[in-house]
Amino acid sequence: MEPRALRPPRLPGLLAALALLLAAQGPRASAARGPALWPLPLSVQTAPRVLHLSPDAFHIANDPLSQAGASCTLLQEAFRRYQNYIFGGPVLKHLPAKSRVKADVQQLLVSVVLDSECEMYPSITSDESYSLVVKEPVAFLKANRVWGVLRGLETFSQLVYQDTYGTYTVNESTITDSPRFPHRGILIDTARHFLPVKSILKTLDAMAFNKFNVLHWHIVDDQSFPYQSTTFPELSNKGSYSKSHVYTPNEVRSVIEYARLRGIRIIPEFDSPGHTQSWGKGQENLLTPCYGGHQPEISGPINPTLNTTYSFLCKLFKEISWVFPDQFIHLGGDEVEFECWESNPNIQKFMKQKGFGTDFRQLESFYMQKLLNIISTLKKGSIVWQEVFDNHVKLQQGTVVQVWKEEMYTNDLSAVTAAGFPVILSAPWYLDRISYGQDWRIYYAVEPLDFSGTQEQKKLVLGGEACLWGEYVDSTNLSPRLWPRASAIGERLWSGKEVRSLDDAYKRLTAHRCRMVRRGIAAEPLFTGYCDNVLK
């Protein structure tokens, strides 16, 4: 893990400057006037001097000194995207057009300082820092790697706004920026409801607007198995909702590449041994047969006592390890029901044989340990839900634990980090749980490092994830349920600890949500008001 940069406390001055800028717009001005940065960068110096841009006299290009050249399609694509985002605003027809806007800023020159990593996949250690200098006639964006360039382009696009005449305007400014946490994720659940690839790509777009860098793809669960496996095609043939509700290898590849071009990692989750009802349809004898009920056909979690189980898992995860290029695989391990195991005489016998007594957590541990070993022989890292840690499974060093149980999650953070394991926080950020009003404020107020522990322990907090579980979510309501509520978490994970003012956040987030709407994301309103533009 990269050490996180130290942040000098420059922010209060900046906030004041921003507040002044916003106040200067007047009470009836729309939220779109003036820059609204989200998430707020580490350091922003903005001068009052405004510069104008013109759509036909501005372009983004590689600096001749850059380590990335024209062959870096990741950047070429990004330049084109951001050109569109910057100048995609409404044409304000009702106001007199100024005669010919003088273009003060004609170029944004982008320079990658170190080896660009253009062809690579982003990782937990990717350097996302960048610096930005906006001045006449050329603005400069500098970063160590392409990942920082992507973040910097987003920031630059957020600096540009339309004045009351519709003229594209930017203040002279200097920005240096880097994230507070390296793991900033969104969880989507494509098992409770299938999400069309289009919805996933849209989500990746919006993630980039909020500087998220991990899509945690909870791809299968009890309800359906939409992942099309080449090794075990029956899993999705029999386990998906229908033949058209699957992700083909091609579609998975296109999601991964689309994400890479935006500096976003795809971490697949194949949750076991619980949450696997759909696996059983296409893989015989994988699940535990439950006994004693009136319905003999019922099966429980994966059967941990059979050798065939592990040879199946070995092959399946081998496939997963090369389909998904990320260093980490999420193995789940949450909410395992012991009743079925308890009912099964063969399992009881196995328990006796292994000397587990009646402690089914030991059986769960037995399973998880074998699975974790499989993953490490595949040279991958593992992420698990907190139960795996809570139930004392022996974990290899470096296994990441994701905390999701809301009661006393600060204690859980303390315990996991005290044991020396890296941790991801999700507990306070379950976005599927909706309520009336501005719940983004609650997500925003969370401080991930606010638990008792040493400095060393705090360094083990890799970041967090906003989780949108799918019981009540499909493509009809995904976007407005996710955005801008997840944006609150985006800023919490990117910006400095001191950036906490709800009033300032409200103003910036209101403008940011209109920007997302303008870019085609159906982000819902924070409260009464309007955007200049309506959703297309």
Binding site: H94, R433, Y472, N477, P480, A522, Y530
Partner: protein, 509 residues
């Protein structure tokens, strides 16, 4: 009723024999069997019966035929099936419609009859209704009865339906002031309302936040009071379009111009309309409700409501009257002096009543009926006996059922909204709570129950705009729609869940 209940329950048991039974809202009487007929998209047509009072040229039905054709078979053109020589005796090639009472160019009203019967058997495929509005409801039901096999063949089961609404006022409120809703969002909502047999679009047009209604007598209202006078307004043309679009679907447009509270946006365009608030002896620069003590206020209202009266053809107008904050009135010395002069003492409810009464006189002079929020009744404003009172408060001053009892006991007609605030979201299947409500479960005699004319699902706009309107409304509002249309005994949530889940997928299609 007991007999009906038994019949219904028997039907529920067998209802899921085929996909045909996923009707929403559930009809009053239905008998259906597994026997089914094919429908060929190529040859199928809607036909007027020779003795129908409505004939070709009836815009409401002609357009409905086109709409339902598209809904059933898509806009594509279907190939004539290859002639096999074999005669399809079990094919239905038309639905014959017979409307008894003439009238295609009117607007639907509170009194419109929406009854229909639908007969699909060996001999006929026939829709009979008293009015065109009933025919629209029957067409919707017909379209829900048609299903498709995995091979793509269209079928309809042998079915007998006799249907009518339980309540005549089945409304949905949209709020276009807290957030502006683009015209297409409103029109789309009207479409889905028709699928749910809703028949009133309660248009909460203006409020504190903005004044998007473009007034031709007071253009400054919109120019200064809208979020953006170029893009965030409803022009006269837009309003006409909404009313006609609604009419073609048998939906009334009930416009609400809420006063004297909820009017901050009005003040920007009409100086002197709102009460200046005072802090101590000085005006604070802020404004409160409409100023009820000035003649100019009533002159304005007179002119403004003359316009509203001409723009919105429905017999009823909604005049609001909710949540009037007295603090500003209390702070204003002129208002205090007026109170003394009128002998109101410190009872600002009397001042509110004074305002509302004057306003009601103005509106009734234009020959309109009106709907008001419950506060008008709670504050004992003297209103005409045919006033409709809308109940929106769940617990205060009394539970909404008690409130219904009080209103109907006083002889007024009532509309229920309190348990159906769809803007209030929570985790999980909250549609079940909406569904479980029975509007007539208050204590009172049959004459009182007869005064409950229906209810409305309300989608207030503080947190809602076109980005999230659709998934927040549907299918949750569907639960309210069935409660207001179907028989009181249709209450099984499991049965409802299956049909609603299916209906949701149909809406997506």
């Amino acid at each position: 009723m007991a007999g009906a209940k038994l019949w219904l329950l028997l039907l529920l048991a067998g209802a899921f024999a085929g996909p045909a039974a996923a009707l929403w809202p559930w009809p009053q009487y239905i008998q259906t069997s597994d026997w089914h007929y094919t429908i060929s998209p190529h040859s199928f047509q809607f036909k007027y019966h020779v003795r129908s009072a409505a004939q070709s040229g009836c815009s409401v039905l002609d357009e409905a035929f086109q709409r339902y054709r598209d809904l059933l078979f898509g806009a594509e053109s279907w190939q004539r099936p290859a002639l096999t020589g074999e005669q399809h005796t079990s094919e239905k090639d038309s639905l014959v419609i017979l409307v008894v009472t003439p009238g295609c160019d009117q607007l639907p009203s509170l009194e419109s009859v929406e009854n229909y019967t639908l007969t699909i058997n060996n001999e006929q495929c026939f829709l009979l209704s008293e009015t065109v509005w009933g025919a629209l409801r029957g067409l919707e039901t017909f379209s829900q009865l048609v299903w498709r096999s995995p091979e793509g063949t269209f079928f309809i089961n042998k079915t007998e339906i006799e249907d009518f609404p339980r309540f005549p006022h089945r409304g949905l409120l949209l709020d276009t002031s807290r957030h502006y809703l683009p015209l297409h969002s409103i029109l789309d909502t009207l479409d889905v309302m028709a699928y749910n047999k809703f028949n009133v679009f309660h248009w909460h047009l203006v409020d504190d936040s903005s004044f998007p209604y473009e007034s031709f007598t007071f253009p400054e209202l919109t120019r200064k009071g809208s979020y953006n006078p170029a893009t965030h307004i409803y022009t006269a043309q837009d309003v006409k379009e909404v009313i006609e679009y609604a009419r073609l679907r048998g939906i009334r447009v009930l416009a609400e111009f809420d006063t004297p509270g909820h009017t901050l946006s009005w003040g920007r365009g009409v100086s002197g309309l709102l009460t200046p608030c005072y802090s101590g002896s000085q005006p604070s620069g802020t404004f409160g409700p409409v100023n009820p003590i000035l003649n100019s206020t009533y002159e304005f209202m007179n002119t403004f409501f003359l316009e509203v009266n001409s723009v919105f053809p429905d017999f009823y107008l909604h005049l609001g009257g909710d949540e009037v904050d007295f603090a500003c009135w209390k702070s204003n010395p002129d208002v205090q002096a007026f109170m003394k002069k009128k002998g109101f003492g410190n009872d600002f409810k009397q001042l509110e009543s004074f305002y509302i009464q004057t306003l009601l006189d103005i509106v009734s002079a234009y020959g309109k009926g009106y709907v008001v929020w419950q506060e008008v009744f709670d504050n004992k404003v003297k209103v005409l006996p045919d006033t409709i009172i809308q109940v929106w408060r769940e617990e205060v001053p009394v539970s909404y059922l008690k409130e219904l009892a009080l209103i109907t006991e006083a002889g007024f007609r009532a509309l229920l909204s309190a348990p159906w605030y769809l803007n209030r979201i929570s985790y999980g299947p909250d549609w079940e709570d909406f569904y479980r409500v029975d509007p007539l479960s208050f204590e009172g005699g049959p004459e009182q129950k007869a005064l409950v004319i229906g209810g409305e699902a309300c989608m207030w706009g503080e947190y809602v705009d076109s980005t999230n309107l659709v998934p927040r409304l549907w299918p949750r509002a569907g639960a309210v729609a069935e409660r207001l249309w179907s028989n009181k005994v249709v209450t099984d949530p499991d049965f409802a869940f299956k049909r609603l889940a299916h209906f949701r997928c149909e809406l997506l299609r």
